[in-house]
Each structure stands twice: as structure tokens, then as C-alpha cells.
Amino acid sequence: MNEKPEKLIDKKGIRLDGRKADELRPVKLQVGVLSHADGSAYIEHGKNKILAAAFGPREVHPKHLMQPDRMVLKVRYHMAPFSVQERKSPAPSRREVELSKVIKESLEPALFLELYPRTGVDVFVEVLQADGGTRCAAITAAALAIADSGVPMRDLVVGCAAGKIDDTVVLDLYDAEDKLGAADVPVAYMPSLNAITLLQMDGILQPAEFEKAVNMAVEGCKKIYEMQKEALKTKYMVVKEVEE
């Protein structure tokens, strides 16, 4: 793992973990996993394992964050000390504070903030195990948690990344590809409204490659969106079956 492999993608287009260039890692989603939260979700995206819990709308604490004309969304992204190989200090790092903000801003367009003035929704994202692309997986899980809590949403938000390893644009980078590759483009997307709510780029890409990466990530989002809807329906379908 510490040695840099010669090639991240071979001549046949197979990556180090055996995927093709446009292949997602396996995704597993579950809704309503925490009983004390108003809404919750769990995602396994490849080796990423992330829990998200949503609370509210409720009174905002601390009070000075309250907005007289709209609801505030607060997001805390946190990585567990055991989520990475070397112990991570549990104190919020610069990276976590930044990701909290990024996730918050990618979820806000999906909410009807103006309908619930002076209230707040809290979202807690806990990364239990990280393997690259946690911000995207966190957005996917957080959107499900909010939907499960009963807060109205324009659409579910899905996160997915694309990037460049060696000279190829590929979908959904994992840890090694992210660290050794040339570029990473995380995208958050609302499929029904065809709206991008997060677009970042780390690395260098040609304009054509960038466009290809964004389109690839959006296609990935659409695939995960179907699983997201399925996961949300599964929870309430069980409720419905009990009724019948």
C-alpha cells in the first residue's frame, strides 16, 4: 500500500481494485437505523461506512445562529478515531470543518428554508470507516436522513465523484486512487431537477477531461439515486406491509 504501484489502471482498463473505468463501488443504503434521531441513514459505499442522523426542525442552539426569515441547516461531519489507519484525533480538524460547510451548502438547495423561519435542522455525519469519497457518500446519507425525518425537500441530493488516474478519467475514486491519481471531481446532484449543488476539483484537468469527469459523476449520481429512493421506500414499505 505504501509503495506507489506503477500503474493505477492497466491496458485493459481495469483498475487496482478490479473495477472498470466507469464502474461504481458497491453501494448499500439503509434508512431509519437510529431510534433516537428524527431521521437517520447508513451508507456503505465501497469500504466507506457512514452514519447520518437528522433532527428537527427545532429551536436553534446557540441562539445567535437563529435567522428571523429562514431555517438554518447545521451539519457536523466527523470522522471516528478508528476510521482511518493511523488514529485520527477526535477533535474537529480543519478538513472536517471545511467538509461540514461543503456538505451543508450542498444540501441547502434541497430544503424549503424560507418556510420555517427561526428554526434549525441539525445533521450529524459520523464516518466510521473511510476509504476515499467520504464527502459524497456523506451527502447521499445525509439527504436520506433529512427525508426520513419528515422535513420537506425539493429532491434527494446524491453525491458521487469522478477523477483522473494515470491518463484516464474514471468514476468513483477510492482512497489509493484519490491519493496517487491526478485529479478528483466530487459532484452533488439533484437528479429530478437536474441541478448540481456541489462541484469541486482537486488536481489538474484539461477542459475536455473536466467535462467528461462531471458527466461521468452525474451518471454515477443517477445510479445511486435509484438506490436511495429504493432504500427510503423499503423502510416505509415494511410499515405498509404490516398494515395489510
Binding site: R154, D155, K233
Partner: protein, 237 residues
């Protein structure tokens, strides 16, 4: 002008429901002349109006609603009340006391104290102010006896039934007084514990099976069965 759903289909936020000449109902919104769902729930259309009956929602205060709340704090000239909504409600002392309120003469915690349950009506509520409660009408005020249960606020209309058919039947069959708080809190007061338990079990059943058809008939039957059992028990005694 098509619609994209079957009756009572389960939809998720963001699912497109109709296009063109339709009206957005509950838990839906319009974007570029298309109607989308905004909550997880079951779709239904009523003429040209598309509604989603939410399976998960919270209570949003509305003027005139009857709610059941818990006093959380005694203040200088009133009480703060938790009504299970995004906002905490206020009940003013002058509303409870029938005479002018003077802080020198009246000890508010003797009237209502933290933990007390009250039935109240929402007097005022708007975007800029927290809801104000009133208890100045018959049937409102402090709860002294009975049992409390919590249901999802969206299920209250089902418990009421068409023109109150369901709730009046339960009241009649169980001899219980039932007050439905629109915020999802229900007060059941009966003469005996058994009657209260029966009413509660029936309400629980309605909550669980709220979206099935023929529910009223099944509830009627359930109530009859339970009653027969009770009569038999009495005979054996």
C-alpha cells in the same frame, strides 16, 4: 397534461407527479409547471389537485388548532409550553386568570407548574412570532386525569374519520372522553382503566393500519368483540 402516478403509490421527495393543468396540494411543490412530491408519502388526486399524504411529518402550528402541550417553564407573566412543534408556545397569565394579573398577588406556579399537561387552542401564530395559546374556552385547560398517547400528527385526520365518524364511534363504544390534539398528542379519559386501555389499543390499531381500506368496519368489529369478552368476564364474576 399527464400524471405520473397510480393512486396510493408510495413516492419519495423529488418524484415528479404531474405536469401542466394540475394544482399542487399538500406536501407537493411546483417547479417549471411540474408538480413534485416534497415528502415521503402516498399520492392521491382529488379533481385537479394532487396531494401527498405524508408518512413522516412534524406538526406545524395553525391558528385555531386544539393542541395538548406540556408546561416546561414558569415565567414572569406566563408559561412556556412544549407543543411538539418547531416552536415553543406561550400561555399568558392574564389568559388563565379571569381577573387582571398582578405579579405581587399571584404565584403562577400554583396555577400551572413545569410538567403539567394542558389542552389549549392556538390563539395567534405567524412567521415572526411564536404561537400564543389560550385556554379561555370550555373544554380547555389543565389535564387532571386520563392517559396520554402520542401518534404521528399526520394520522390525526384518520383517527377523526369522515365527519368525525371514527372518533365518535370509539367514544361511544368505550365510554371514554377523547381529546385529539392536532399536534399528535391524544388524551383518553374513561371511568375505568379497562375502558381507557381499550380506547388506546383501538387508536394504536388505527395508527398502524391508517392507510388500508375498510378500516372503519374492522375497528367496529374489534370494538364489538372486546365488548363481548368483557360482558362474559362480568358474568363469570
Amino acid at each position: 397534461m399527464p400524471t405520473f402516478f397510480e393512486k396510493k403509490q408510495l413516492v419519495t421527495p423529488g418524484e415528479m407527479l404531474a405536469e401542466g393543468d394540475y394544482l399542487p396540494g399538500e406536501n407537493t411543490y411546483v417547479e417549471a409547471n411540474k408538480i413534485y412530491a416534497s415528502r415521503i408519502g402516498l399520492v392521491d388526486s382529488d379533481n385537479k389537485k394532487v396531494n401527498v399524504v405524508a408518512l413522516r411529518a412534524f406538526y406545524m402550528p395553525k391558528m385555531g388548532d386544539i393542541v395538548i402541550g406540556t408546561v416546561i417553564e414558569v415565567g414572569f407573566n406566563g408559561w412556556t409550553v412544549n407543543i411538539k412543534a418547531p416552536y415553543t408556545a406561550m400561555l399568558r397569565a392574564s389568559d388563565v386568570l379571569s381577573r387582571p394579573f398582578k405579579p405581587q398577588n399571584d404565584e403562577l406556579s400554583q396555577v400551572l407548574t413545569a410538567g403539567d399537561l394542558i389542552v389549549a387552542k392556538i390563539a395567534t401564530f405567524d412567521r415572526a412570532h411564536d404561537p400564543q395559546l389560550t385556554v379561555g374556552e370550555p373544554g380547555l385547560g389543565k389535564i387532571t386525569r386520563g392517559q396520554i398517547l402520542h401518534v404521528t400528527p399526520t394520522k390525526i385526520p384518520r383517527i377523526i374519520g369522515r365527519k368525525g365518524s371514527m372518533i365518535s364511534m370509539i367514544k361511544q363504544e368505550t365510554n371514554c372522553q377523547i381529546i385529539l390534539g392536532l399536534n399528535g398528542v391524544i388524551l383518553v379519559t374513561g371511568k375505568t382503566l379497562e375502558e381507557e386501555e381499550l380506547a388506546i389499543s383501538v387508536i394504536r390499531k388505527i395508527e398502524e393500519e391508517s392507510h388500508t381500506s375498510g378500516l372503519t368496519d374492522r375497528i367496529t368489529q374489534l370494538l364489538k368483540e372486546k365488548k363481548v369478552v368483557k360482558v362474559e368476564e362480568n358474568v363469570n364474576e
